[in-house]
């Protein structure tokens, strides 16, 4: 370890490793630190990710792919099933990964690109001078260090403190976080070709249950409910009920717990000398809770912006605004659309969810896009989904129809 770098990245999840890799490839001197002794372990993920999206950033390797699926099946409370292709299923469906191996492979890519990597190294604070972040305070094997950098990137996940230390309040309200429990189950009868989602206010209040195939009769069977539904009843208890009912003979060989931000975009993700990436920037999808791809996308972007800011010798918040603008224009737009959908769908009763599912019966969703699916739902259930109308604005092929609807 040196005492100064161009960029220090805190946290070696997918967001941090992508940041470090891109920054190193841009020629920067990079340090990537991770507080755990083993990158990627314990896992806090259902491990689903869209193949095509992922391929933009890493060459697929069978070492970290557990299963490949064709799409998803969504079950409404009365059991009505909607089948969706991979393209329609969004950023969470395609491969089911082995995150322990995947996260390590990404960190290795950062290392091969030239970044220095340190495990069992925890950031405990920031060095702040004249209103600029100038590095981190860190602890490694019982010793304390001050390490300086032109830019610090906080990719420290759901439990992020880096933003808070720089004055960006990233605290989540209970309703803005999805609290999850999952078993890796074996010896169960599942559909190996589809990721399955089960909806219902009884089985998963303000949330859903997922079954993601992991190959060889194994699957990640998990539940996420929003924090405001948690307390009297816990994610793990609801999961046990579901497993009891659906897979009485199955065996759990791993337990995963975790929280995902579902708050939508936050106000600010940059400060003087600082950027936030991934779950630390609350960039996960508010409907699905998916954040693997989003964190990688944002990490890559942050790495590029770090390089351009350092080249122009200006790491002020105004200069780093380039990152803020770019991620908001693409990721942020999708996240905000999901937020509108989340806000409407989480208020639906089981009866209303069934009504929506029935309205899609017989409709071929084969080549639909997500927005096309929502549009189909909206058209058939205008009264129920009137709140969604804002998300169709600006989308060319349905724009005309929408303005006619809204006007009528």
């Amino acid at each position: 370890m040196k005492d100064r770098y161009d960029v220090i990245v805190v946290g070696a999840g997918p967001g941090g490793s992508m940041t470090a890799k891109t920054a190193a490839l841009e020629g920067l001197d990079v340090l990537l630190i991770e507080k755990r002794q083993q990158i990627g372990d314990p896992v806090r993920c259902a491990e689903g990710v869209n193949k095509e999206y992922l391929k933009e950033y890493i060459e697929p390797d069978p070492a970290w792919i557990s299963a490949e699926v064709k799409g998803s099946k969504i079950y409404s409370p009365d059991g009505t099933m909607i089948e969706m292709s991979e393209e329609l299923s969004g950023a969470e469906v395609g491969y089911v990964l082995e995150r322990k191996v995947f996260d390590r492979a990404l960190a290795r890519e950062a290392a091969l690109a030239g970044a220095e990597v340190m495990v069992k190294t925890r950031a405990t604070g920031l060095l702040i001078e004249d209103g600029f972040v100038k590095g981190i305070k860190a602890e490694h094997m019982g010793k304390k260090y001050d390490i300086r950098a032109k830019i610090v990137v906080g990719a420290d996940g759901v439990e992020s403190k880096v933003g808070r230390w720089a004055g960006i309040d990233t605290t989540l309200k209970p309703s803005d976080m999805c609290t999850c429990a999952q078993y890796l189950m074996t010896d169960i009868d599942i559909d190996p070709d589809f990721c399955e989602f089960f909806l219902g206010n009884e089985i998963a209040p303000i949330g859903y249950i997922w079954v993601f195939p992991k190959g060889n009769n194994m699957a990640n069977v998990g539940i996420g409910i929003t924090g405001n539904a948690s307390g009297k009843v816990r994610a793990i208890e609801l999961l046990d009920d579901f497993v009891q009912e659906h897979y009485p003979g199955g065996k759990a060989i791993e337990l995963v717990v975790g929280g995902v931000p579902v708050c939508g975009t936050i106000e600010r993700t940059v400060a003087n000398g600082l950027m936030l990436v991934g779950d630390a920037a609350r960039q996960s999808d508010p409907v699905t809770g998916g954040g693997i791809f989003n964190s990688m996308w944002a990490g890559d972007m942050a790495g590029k912006v770090a390089a351009s800011a350092i080249r122009r010798s200006d790491v002020s918040a105004e200069s780093l605004e380039e990152y803020e603008k770019k991620w908001r224009a693409e990721l942020g737009r999708d996240i905000n659309m999901s937020l509108v959908v989340k806000q409407r769908f989480t208020r639906l009763s089981d009866h209303e969810l069934n009504t929506l599912a029935h309205s899609l019966e017989g409709i071929d969703l084969g080549s639909a896009t997500l927005i096309g699916l929502l549009w189909a739902l909206f058209k058939a259930n205008k009264k129920l989904l009137w709140d969604l109308r804002s998300i169709f604005k600006g989308i060319k092929d349905i724009e005309m129809e929408v303005s006619a609807e809204v006007g009528s």
């Binding site: 403190k161 609290t179 948690s230």
Partner: protein, 57 residues
């Protein structure tokens, strides 16, 4: 400070850390530490997926 962590239940996921309004919680590697800034609001205990936290008022 009256938050107690049942370390035999805790899955060290960090979810509680993200909702704590005072920043009193910290996920070390495999355990949660609570510092003196805790105001006993109870939010952490509410959202823990396994019920590992207890706040006694």
């Amino acid at each position: 400070m009256t938050v107690s962590v049942d370390r035999f239940k805790c899955g060290y996921c960090g979810a509680c850390v993200s909702v704590c309004p005072t920043g009193a919680l910290e996920l070390m590697e495999t355990w949660i530490e609570v510092d003196g800034s805790c105001n006993d609001c109870g939010i952490c205990a509410k959202i823990c997926p396994v019920g590992a936290l207890e706040v006694s008022k």
